[in-house]
């Protein structure tokens, strides 16, 4: 490199370009990571195919795919917005990535925006893939697409808040363990593949307040039963979103 190469010429790139570049990078990191793909793609796909084809769990009246597909979509949202984001952000914090980016021209809110966009891009890919598979398995969804979109967005907000709260306060290894454990527990106890009415009444009323239960129940009300707007479930998700995101904003530590 010749003389004058390093002559100072500082300046931040335009914000949309920075956020776009950050979103692209975050999405690539998510899709390149094998453990992440296991959580976000392979497990939901396997569960959808397996439980639709084999009658292991009594899913009530009607085709089992009509019960399962909404639950698996809820699981997909949780796997990306909560589990995947918590683990990735936890290790980025541990390895100084968040710290280093904090000294770059990209503002912190820009980084968080990019993270959210990367989660949404991943979710779109998941929804497309899972919807295609569900249709191939004979799924016949009903209902109001706007209600579905609203549920997915509020669910993403609720799970993102909780995932960021966890990754911004715990050690990376603790986040890894806890996020996977929570994923497993909510998969079983959140109405994803096992209907909540299989649990005792007392347990049902508590489990029904979980964000995963609200999301899978709400999606099922619309897609399986044709409800117009599941206000109760939307309300539960909104409360989780407000609590999770404000706690994350308050307690998140960048280093």
């Amino acid at each position: 490199m010749s003389a004058g190469t390093y002559a100072p010429r500082p300046g931040a790139a335009p914000l949309p370009r920075m956020i776009g570049a950050q979103t692209a990078l975050e999405t690539r990191m998510l899709l390149r990571n094998g453990e992440q793909l296991l959580l976000t793609v392979i497990i939901p796909t396997l569960l959808l195919v397996l439980f639709s084809a084999v009658d292991i769990v009594d899913t009530g009246a009607g085709r089992s795919v009509d019960f399962l597909a909404p639950g698996i979509l809820a699981l997909a949202v949780m796997s990306t917005a909560f589990t995947g984001q918590a683990i990735a952000t936890g290790f980025e914090r541990r390895y100084g990535v968040l710290k280093r980016l904090g000294a770059s021209p990209l503002p912190r809110w820009g980084l968080m925006t990019a993270k959210t966009l990367a989660v949404l891009v991943t979710e779109v890919l998941q929804v497309v893939l899972l919807t295609v598979i569900a249709f191939a398995l004979g799924w016949s969804p009903h209902g109001n697409p706007l209600a579905v979109l609203l549920l997915l967005v509020l669910g993403t907000a609720a799970f993102s808040g909780l995932g960021l709260l966890m990754s911004g306060t715990l050690k990376a290894e603790a986040t890894l363990a806890a996020a996977n454990l929570v994923f497993l527990l909510l998969l079983v106890g959140g109405g994803v593949i096992v209907p909540l009415d299989k649990f005792p009444d007392a347990a049902q009323s508590v489990l029904g307040l979980l964000p995963i239960a609200a999301l899978s129940d709400g999606l099922r009300d619309v897609l399986q039963h044709g409800a117009s707007m599941p206000w109760g479930d939307l309300g539960i998700l909104a409360v989780w979103a407000v609590l999770g995101l404000s706690a994350a904003a308050k307690f998140f530590r960048w280093e």
Partner: protein, 308 residues
């Protein structure tokens, strides 16, 4: 502009709980110069630099970088500085070129990424992700990330720690190129030779304070005297020799036939000693001059070994 300090720190205090990391530190950094912040581990080097980078809020004192407050004016300051952290800072699943291209995209007028990759020998990293790069490759990537945005001022926190000698030279060369092109450089190091080889100014830090600051030459001259040694006939008349030498110079014969002159050893003193020997029919063998290094200065100022 040239005379305005790029970094001005006055009375900086930073505590972590009960531990005081920086304790009333004053430091000025000249524009366009390479300034080495030198001190043992735990002296407060990283805390000082990270306060300049806006990561730490001072408990007392003021810090101005390019005339700005690193915390309050962060948005304005960040595009203008380059930062190399002591470790990490890269996605474990990112490739070297990918991360560097990304950092370039965050700036308005970045360097040519391909040329920078070649300059720092990162081309051989290929498709290897960060976590599988060698320590030296990770260091060089981190350095590249600090300069790719064409900053006015770069902070390098131990830029050559863990590098092999060749990579270390290459990093030194890059720092010199940065200075030649008008970039101000602040680097921390606990390598004396690094500070002596690179720095226009050295600030020696111990226990959270700057205990000496100046050019390496000045610090070495002021901080300690130099020594001239030779061997010759035993029992020379040192009193006669001392009369020929400047006041304050000392002479001794520590073992029979070996002589030690301590003082301001300059060409004039050397000439005086050799001509005195000639007058007295003495052949001085093995004349050697031991110049005091920053290492000696540090030892003298702190009573500590630098790498203890």
């Amino acid at each position: 502009m040239k005379n305005e300090p790029v970094v001005q720190i006055r009375g900086l205090v930073k505590r972590y709980g009960a531990k005081t990391a920086v304790n009333g530190l004053d430091l000025g950094v000249r524009t366009g110069a390479v300034t080495a912040v030198l001190g043992p581990n735990g002296a407060g080097k990283t805390t000082t630099v990270e306060t300049c980078e806006g990561y730490r809020r001072p408990d007392a004192g003021t810090v101005r970088v390019l005339g700005l407050d690193p915390v309050a004016d962060a948005a304005e300051l960040r595009p203008r500085i380059g930062v190399m952290l002591q470790s990490g800072g890269v996605y474990s699943g990112a490739r070297a070129d990918e991360m560097l291209r990304h950092m370039a995209k965050l700036h308005a007028h970045p360097l040519d990424v391909d040329a920078l990759i070649e300059r720092l020998g990162l081309g051989s990293c290929g498709r290897t992700t960060y976590r599988r790069l060698s320590g030296g490759q990770q260091q060089r990537l981190s350095l590249a990330m600090a300069v790719v945005g064409r900053p006015e001022l770069v902070f390098l926190d131990e830029p050559t720690a863990g590098l092999d000698p060749q990579a270390r030279r290459s990093t030194w060369d890059l720092v010199r190129e940065l200075r030649a092109d008008g970039v101000s450089v602040v680097l921390t190091t606990h390598f004396m030779d690094e500070a002596e080889a690179l720095a226009d100014d050295v600030a020696i830090i111990d226990a959270g304070r700057v205990i000496a600051q100046g050019s390496p030459e000045l610090l070495c001259r002021d901080g300690a005297e130099n020594t001239l040694r030779f061997t010759g006939r035993p029992g020379l008349d040192l009193g006669s020799l001392l009369k020929a030498l400047p006041d304050g110079t000392q002479a001794a014969e520590p073992t029979t036939g070996t002589y030690r002159i301590t003082g301001q050893v300059d060409p004039q003193l050397l000439a005086t000693v050799t001509s005195w020997c000639a007058q007295h029919g003495v052949m001085p063998d093995g004349i050697s001059v031991e110049r005091h290094t920053l290492e000696d200065v540090f030892l003298e100022l702190t009573g500590k070994e630098l790498r203890a």
